[in-house]
Structures are given as C-alpha cells and as structure tokens.
C-alpha cells in the first residue's frame, strides 16, 4: 500500500484497473456513473501528485519523465471532465432507449479500462508493453464505438477495428525491428526493449534497421493518430459512437498514439546516420492539414465535421514536431494541449445538442443561440477557438507553429497557412448556420451540465491571454527533450 503512495504511477494505473472491474460488476447506472466520475477524479489527483512527489527512477516497465507528465496530466484531466459529461449524457440515452442498463454497466467498465490502457501506454518504459497498452485502448474503443449497435455504428466499429488492427500490426513489426537493431548492442532479453536503455545507446544501433523500423512505426501508430492517408476510420468512429467517447477519442487517444510516434522519433533522432524523421512527419502532417481542410466543406453531420477538424489539428501537431527544434516543439506541444481541451469541449456541447435535437445533421440544428443560449454560445465559442480565432489558446499555438516555420522553410509555412485558412473558412461557414437564423428541429429543454464545457473553454481562453511562467518553463524543458 505504501508503494502505491510512494510512486503515483502505480495509483494512476491501479485506480482505473480496479474501477474497471468494480464498475462492470456493480448494478445501478446512477451509482456507477458517479463512481466513474469519482475514479477519474482520483486518477487525476494521482497524476497531479506527480508534480509534488519525488520521481521514482525509471524501472524495467514504468518511466516518468518531463515528456510523459504532460500527456498523463492532460489525459487524466480530460478523462475526468469527459466522465462528468458522460454522467449527464447517459440519462438521456437511457430514456430514449438507445442504451440499456446492462450496456451502461459494460460502458462504464470499458471507459475505465480504456483510461487504464492509455495511462499505461503513456507511462510504460518498455516498447513491448507500450504496444500492448495501445492495443488494449484500441480494442476497448472499438467496442465503445459499436455500442449503439445501429447499422452505421457497426460499420464504423468494424472499419475502425480493421484499420486499427492493421496499424497496430505494422507498429508491432516496427517494434520487433527496433529490438533487432538493439539486440547486438544491448544483448538479448528484456534490456533491448527498455526505452531508457535504448535511447542511451541508440547511436550504436544499425541505422538501416532503425530507418525501416521507424517507417513501420510511423505508419502503424500514424494510423491511430489519424494522419492522412490512413485516417479513413476516424470520421466514422467519431460520428457513430457515444459522444463522450468521441471526445475521448479526439482529445486523448490520438495523443497517445502521437506520444508513441514521438518516443520513437526521439530514438531515431539520436542516431547521426539514420534518416531524419522530420521530413516524413512534416509531409504527412501537411497532407493531413490540407486534405482535412477541404473535406470540412462537404460535411452534413456535425460530429463528422469535427472529426475532420481533428485530423487537421493532428496534422498541424505532427507538422510542428516534424519541424523540430525548441520553438516548433514548444508550439506543437501547446497546440496538442489546446486542441485536446477545445475539441473535447466542442464534443461536450455537440453531445447535448444532438440529444436535444434528436439529430446529428447540421441542417437540423440551426439557430441554437436563440433556442438554447448557454449551449449555443458554448458551441460557438468552441468553434471560434478551434478555428484559430484570437484570443483563444489555439490561435497562439497556431501562430507559433507558423512563425517558427516561416523562419526556416517559408514554402512549407505558406502551404500550412493555406490549409489553415481553408479550414477556417469552412468552420466559420458552418458556424453561421449553427448560431443565426430561425431555430430548426426540436426545441426541447436542455438537461445538461455545462461545467465541463465552460471549464475547458475558460482554460483555453486563459492560455491564449496569459500563459503562466512555470507552465512555459515546463513546456520549454519538454521541447528541448524532444530535440
């Protein structure tokens, strides 16, 4: 027990794992929904205690460093707010009969299992363990996406499952190749899979195998990041699953896959003769931004619209990390945090909107600010933020990405700005539809909790206006670590 408190990492893993079992066993959805929030809150507290408690040295399985603290804290925070949103969301789903109490039990168990998988992936020091954890997170989200069991939900889940497994299979092949590259230097056995030993000796590995491994890993985990042209699963999975899961998918799971890519990028970047990972990531990122920006125009389904926007933003983030250097990495990191917060806020409001209106079609949800001012303005602010309007944090991070690129590669920066403008136009065009005009569709009362939505928006706004010194220093340290 004392070990649990000595190293918060154990608590971060043990709480979701234990509550997954507990929630799956307990009957009564009201109780389990509250317990789900409580468990997520406790996990968040343990994650925050990482700042205070002295860090344990990296072990054979777990690792805590500056980089993964950013991801873990973000992960548990959004996990907590999404759980609170989910508690108010599911009542309506029960009333309309889209979910039964049995399915809800399953849903809550899966939610915690997914949090466990993601936290484990972020904390693992063993590249094999990391792979297993990401696979666990993928499989649980597949089940969650298909939970409504409608025609479209099953198709989306199947597509996600097939593409996700292909991605995960390629990633495993890449992991095996990394082991093979490390084996002559670090010897046979577990040592050659421990990330901290790998990074210490990566300079001595065979560069050819490392190159090949990185290509497989980028394609494999890149599928899960949702990079074009491997993104096909993402819009369907976002549109057809329960909205809390869309929020978690966009806000967290994509980040976890990105984290895996970054770890291996750091590994290959330390080798002087290996191929530079930057150009590959930059081109995939840029392709995603431009492709997704154009795809935004033809969307008629609101969740699909924001799913494509996630592809665009993951593209920006991967682009920034691909450019590398302290400034671009800083911008990428900041953008990742801002995107997670904003996009999950948007999904929180979209979830309630879709419940009130009974449809996800954009045509059916006009004039929101008149019929439901609090919700409507929340969504409007979220869309403005994600489109990159000042003074929100997303504007600042996008600005940083663009300016840091202009100094080094003006052509790339122009392409990026082009993509951003196209996406901006598409989102504003849609936004005027949501806000203005006569209300369409049903005008029922909103039984919603607005706290998670506005809490996220307030954070994004605050970050856009003033970023506290310690946060800047912390992100700068991580940016240097990323190389």
């Amino acid at each position: 027990m004392s070990a649990l408190f000595a190293n918060p990492a154990y608590a971060i893993l043990a709480i979701p794992a234990a509550s997954a079992v507990l929630l799956a066993l307990l009957p009564g959805y009201r109780l389990t929904a509250r317990l789900n929030v409580l468990a997520s809150f406790l996990t968040l507290l343990s994650a925050l205690s990482l700042f205070v408690v002295e860090r344990a040295p990296p072990g054979p399985y777990l690792l805590i460093d500056d980089l993964n603290i950013v991801f873990v804290v973000l992960n548990t925070f959004v996990g907590f707010t999404a759980a609170s949103f989910s508690a108010s969301y599911i009542n309506h789903e029960l009333e309309t009969g889209r979910l039964t109490p049995t399915y809800l039990r399953f849903y809550h168990g899966m939610y915690q299992l997914m949090m466990f998988g993601m936290n484990l992936a972020l904390l693992s020091n063993n590249i094999g363990l990391m792979w297993v954890a990401i696979e666990v997170a993928t499989l649980t989200t597949v089940l969650m996406v298909g939970i409504y069991r409608t025609h479209a939900a099953l198709e989306a889940a199947w597509k996600y499952f097939i593409l996700g497994s292909v991605g995960i299979a390629l990633a495993l092949f890449g992991t095996i190749l990394v082991y093979l590259a490390a084996q002559p230097v670090l010897g046979e056995g577990a040592e050659s899979m421990i990330w901290t030993s790998l990074i210490a000796r990566a300079g001595e590995f065979d560069p050819a195998i490392l190159n090949l491994a990185f290509v497989f890993l980028l394609l494999g985990y890149g599928t899960k990041v949702g990079l074009a042209p491997l993104h096909a699963w993402l819009p369907d999975a976002h549109a057809e699953g329960p909205t809390p899961i869309s929020a978690v998918l966009s806000g967290l799971l994509l980040n976890v896959a990105l984290y895996a890519v970054l770890r291996f990028k750091m590994l290959i970047a330390t080798h002087p003769e290996a191929l530079a990972p930057g150009p590959l990531m930059v081109s995939m990122g840029l392709l995603s931004v431009i492709f997704a920006a154009f795809m935004l125009y033809r969307r008629r389904d609101i969740k699909r619209l924001f799913a494509y926007s996630s592809i665009e933003h993951m593209g920006i983030i991967v682009f920034a990390f691909g450019m590398g250097g302290p400034l671009a990495n800083f911008a990428g990191l900041l953008h990742m945090v801002m995107h997670s917060l904003t996009k999950s806020a948007i999904f929180y409001s979209v979830g309630h909107v879709a419940q009130i209106k009974g449809t996800q079609q954009i045509d059916g949800i006009k004039g929101l600010t008149q019929s439901h001012p609090v919700l409507g303005w929340g969504l409007a602010l979220g869309v403005l933020a994600i489109a990159g309007m000042p003074p929100f944090g997303v504007f600042m991070s996008e600005f940083l990405v663009v300016t840091s690129t202009f100094a080094r590669a003006p052509v790339l920066a122009l392409l990026l700005v082009f993509g951003l403008l196209v996406a901006f136009g598409a989102l504003l065009m849609r936004l005027s539809g949501f806000i203005f005009g006569a209300p369409t569709g049903k005008v029922g009362p909103a039984e919603a909790s607005f706290v998670p939505l506005y809490a996220h928006l307030a954070l994004v706004l605050a970050a856009g206006i003033y970023l506290p010194g310690p946060v800047v220093a912390w992100f700068q340290a991580v940016a240097v670590l990323l190389g």
Binding site: L143, A157, F161, L172, F173, I176
Partner: protein, 220 residues
C-alpha cells in the same frame, strides 16, 4: 548440422508464405478456414523449431497456443458460424484471384529485397525469417483488402498476426512478455470479432460488408 538447422527453419518459414498464397486463391469460405488452420500448424512447427534451436523453452508455449487456438479452436468456431449462417460455400473477391496472386508475388519480392538489403548486420537466421515474416504480413494485408466478407477479413487478419509471431520468434531472445501478449491479443481480437459477427448476424442476417455500406450522413 548448422546448415541443416538453418535449412529447416528456412523451409518452415517459406512454407508459411506458401500457405499464405494458398489462402489467396481459396474461393469458398470453408476451404479458406481449413487452409488457415494449416497456416497455424505450419507456424506452430516453425516456432517449435525456433524454440529448439534457440534453446528457448518458453517459445514452446507460443507454439502450443498457435496449435491449440489457431489451428483447432478458432477454425472450428468459425466453421460452425458459417455453417449456421449457411454461407460456407461462398466467397466474393473484389479482385480476381489471378490478379491478387500477381500482386502477392510482387509484395513477397519487395519484402525480400527490402529486408535482405537493409538488415545486413543481423545474423542470417533472423534476417531470412524476417523477410518471410514480412511477406506473410503483407499477404495477410492483401487478403484483407481484396475480400469483402467479414469472415475472410478476419482470416486475413489472423494470418497477418501469424506473420508477426514468426517475426517475434525469429528475433532471438525477445522477451516472453511480448510473445504471450501477441498470442493474447489474437485471443482478444477473436472475442471482439466473435461479438461483432454475432451482432452483425443478429441485425442484418448477413455478414457481407458490402451490405453494410450505406448512407453515412453525407454525399446526399
């Protein structure tokens, strides 16, 4: 003796590639599943051989899992499912089998050229093993792409996993954690798949994915 050890490993891994090719041209679902069982048997033999030559007894566990689950239990269950649905005679391919075979040959050639050229420092054992493993993975991928039926996509996926296990066991001394997890993931994957198949069956009386492709909220 060394030469012999090498040749047998080579033979078994090559056999796996050959069985992968056999799966590509199977026209009927029942036959496809039986060939997959054979695939798993060859994999199990190959893994056992690796276990013996590397003196790594834990690999026998992997071999046993391949033999019991992938060669007996899963094919048995899949055969039952397709009989119950009355679809054990049909397989629709998107692309003709001749064209798929040609594409498959291209993939195998590519993976062999790629692996042998890039991995010159690795010992010959692991090198050739890896080249074959990549071929099996790519052939599995090819099958998933060219088939429309959910069951044959599942079979394609499992043959891909077989390729990964071949690669993992060929890498000398790779920790046990990973092998078990690989086998485990196949199991989990199968449960997931099973659930999906039953759900799909319950709702639509078909497992043809073509029938699932409908209006998705756009292009109208």
């Amino acid at each position: 003796m060394d030469r012999m050890v090498f040749d047998i490993a080579h033979l078994l891994a090559g056999g796996l590639v050959l069985v992968s090719f056999m799966m590509i041209y199977q026209e009927r679902l029942g036959a496809l599943i039986r060939v997959f069982a054979m695939h798993a048997v060859v994999l199990s033999l190959s893994v056992s051989w690796q276990a013996w030559t590397q003196d790594a007894p834990h690999l026998y566990v992997t071999a046993a899992i391949a033999l019991v689950f992938k060669a007996v239990v899963i094919p048995g269950a899949l055969l039952r499912i397709i009989r119950r649905m009355g679809i054990h005679r049909e397989v629709e391919t998107v692309v003709g089998s001749g064209l798929t075979m040609l594409a498959g040959m291209g993939l195998v050639a590519m993976s062999i050229v790629l692996m042998l050229r890039l991995t010159e420092t690795v010992d010959a054992f692991a090198r050739e093993d890896l080249a074959f493993a990549l071929s099996v993975v790519l052939l599995g991928l090819l099958m998933m792409v060219t088939r429309r039926n959910a069951v044959s996509q599942v079979v394609g996926f499992m043959s891909m996993e077989n390729g990964l296990i071949l690669a993992a066991t060929g890498a000398k001394g790779m920790p046990l954690v990973v092998e078990i997890s690989v086998a485990f993931s196949v199991l989990i994957a199968f449960i997931v798949i099973g659930v999906f198949l039953f759900r799909i069956r319950e709702r639509f009386d078909t497992i043809d994915l073509g029938a699932l492709e409908e209006y998705r909220g756009e292009n109208q």
